[in-house]
């Protein structure tokens, strides 16, 4: 059982355990997957699939797809570390605490991350990079600022989960407001590889998406756990509530991940 904590609440031992598990997963498979499998899926399912479906982004399934994606990674990290309580921490980017420290995700935030847990000397090289380099890149705060608590509150105040036309142009809906105003902005705030299609090269990807998932869960507890839209499968290019989210196993639908109390993790 993973109790997902804020970066600010992690002990030194928990930080080390998380970083070690990620590095080990870069070179060791678990449950038929390895770290680079996750990067491949992010690149592949960011695009529309050959049958015209947007699974991971710019569509209603953005939130449940990433919930399942994080759940799988957490299970795999638990397997490679042999620690059934290993958890993905969340980064509340509205607060002052940073995950970019020498003892955690690395203190270099402008250019090549050449020292620390996620540097080439420690075995962390980037995969399928659109930037011709082997080192993880960051450009923290160079193109935009972090979302403020006020912005988060305005996004959380949306009452409808999503609506037609079910893409990134939806202006009134929780999913698209979260995706555009919070999710996209933090990708751009960190910059470097976090701004690219292959963003999971940066381990902060998981901490960011963990916070996005936590915010969705907080929203669900206010607006209702069973609030996903669309409910029927008549909308082309969109995953309905009971359709499988590829590339995950058959039956991994938005409905199957709506209640995190059935998914073996919780938020502290």
């Amino acid at each position: 059982m993973a109790v997902r904590k804020s970066v600010t609440a992690m002990t030194s031992a928990e930080k080390t355990a998380f970083a070690n598990a990620l590095r080990r997963f870069k070179t060791t498979s678990a449950n038929g997957r390895n770290y680079n499998w996750y990067i491949d899926q992010h690149v592949a399912f960011f695009s529309r699939t050959s049958d015209g479906i947007s699974f991971a982004h710019q569509s209603p399934s953005f939130l449940p797809w990433h919930r399942e994606y994080l759940r799988l990674l957490e299970i795999d990290l638990q397997a490679v570390s042999g620690n059934a309580n290993l958890f993905i921490p969340y980064w509340d980017w509205t607060g002052a605490a940073s995950p970019f420290t020498a003892d955690f995700l690395g203190s270099i935030t402008n250019g090549s991350v050449s020292t620390g847990n996620f540097s080439p000397p420690w075995g962390w090289t980037v995969y399928r990079s659109s930037i011709a380099t082997t080192s993880l890149q960051r450009r923290l705060g160079q193109s935009t600022s972090r979302p403020t608590a006020t912005t988060v509150n305005s996004v959380q105040a949306n009452t409808v989960y999503d609506q037609s036309p079910w893409n990134s142009s939806v202006s009134t809906g929780y999913r698209s407001r979260n995706e555009v105003q919070l999710h996209n902005r933090v990708h751009n705030y960190v910059g470097g590889h976090m701004g690219t299609r292959e963003a999971p090269n940066d381990p902060v990807f998981w901490l960011h998406h963990c916070n996005i998932d936590r915010l969705w869960w907080l929203w669900q507890r206010t607006r209702g756990i069973d609030t996903y839209q669309p409910r029927t499968g008549t909308t082309s290019g969109v995953v309905d509530n009971t359709e499988t989210m590829r590339p995950f196993a058959t039956g991994r639908t938005p409905a199957s991940v709506r209640d995190i109390s059935t998914l073996n993790y919780s938020y502290a």
């Binding site: 710019q58 011709a132 893409n167 990134s168 996209n184 990708h187 701004g195 292959e198």
Partner: protein
């Protein structure tokens, strides 16, 4: 999107007509004067196109009908795709829906490109990507097409 295409069609319709007239004049001048052939003229370039150096990198942008723009940085291609998306300006002005261009490198940061307020859009996208690249070049992965 429809509006963008309509304006693009008007633009390219006009550019095409200019090119035809130029070619006809060229032939006539050869026939009348018998002098050396007039220089061959390429089809009129889009005035927004650019081929210049920014922060030590050569950026080359070409605007094509239907939003199928092309961008190369130091000779390496950056594949672009257009999405219809919500823009929420950071200055607090009203959110609006527009067409934004994304690539492998500005994947969460769509850039508007048109022939009006955002006629510098493609160049701005190139400059943004150069900030991300820093001392490095685009890899082949940046040229891979994907659909949104």
């Amino acid at each position: 999107m429809a509006d963008l295409n309509r304006r693009a069609a008007l633009r390219y319709g006009a550019a095409g007509a200019v090119a035809v007239v130029t070619a006809a004049v060229g032939i006539q001048s050869v026939a009348v004067s018998g002098s050396a052939a007039a220089p061959q003229r390429a089809p009129a370039a889009d005035p927004r196109d650019f081929d210049e150096v920014h922060k030590g990198k050569k950026i080359k942008g070409k605007h094509n009908a239907g939003g199928k723009h092309e961008l190369h940085i130091n000779g390496k291609k950056l594949e672009l795709s257009a999405i219809e998306t919500l823009f929420v300006p950071e200055d607090g002005s009203a959110p609006y829906v527009g067409v934004g261009f994304i690539s492998a490198l500005n994947h969460y940061d769509p850039v508007e490109i048109d022939d009006d307020r955002h006629k510098e859009g493609l160049k701005n996208l190139a400059k943004k990507v150069i900030e991300t690249l820093g001392e490095f070049e685009l890899s082949d992965e940046a040229a891979r097409a994907h659909h949104h």
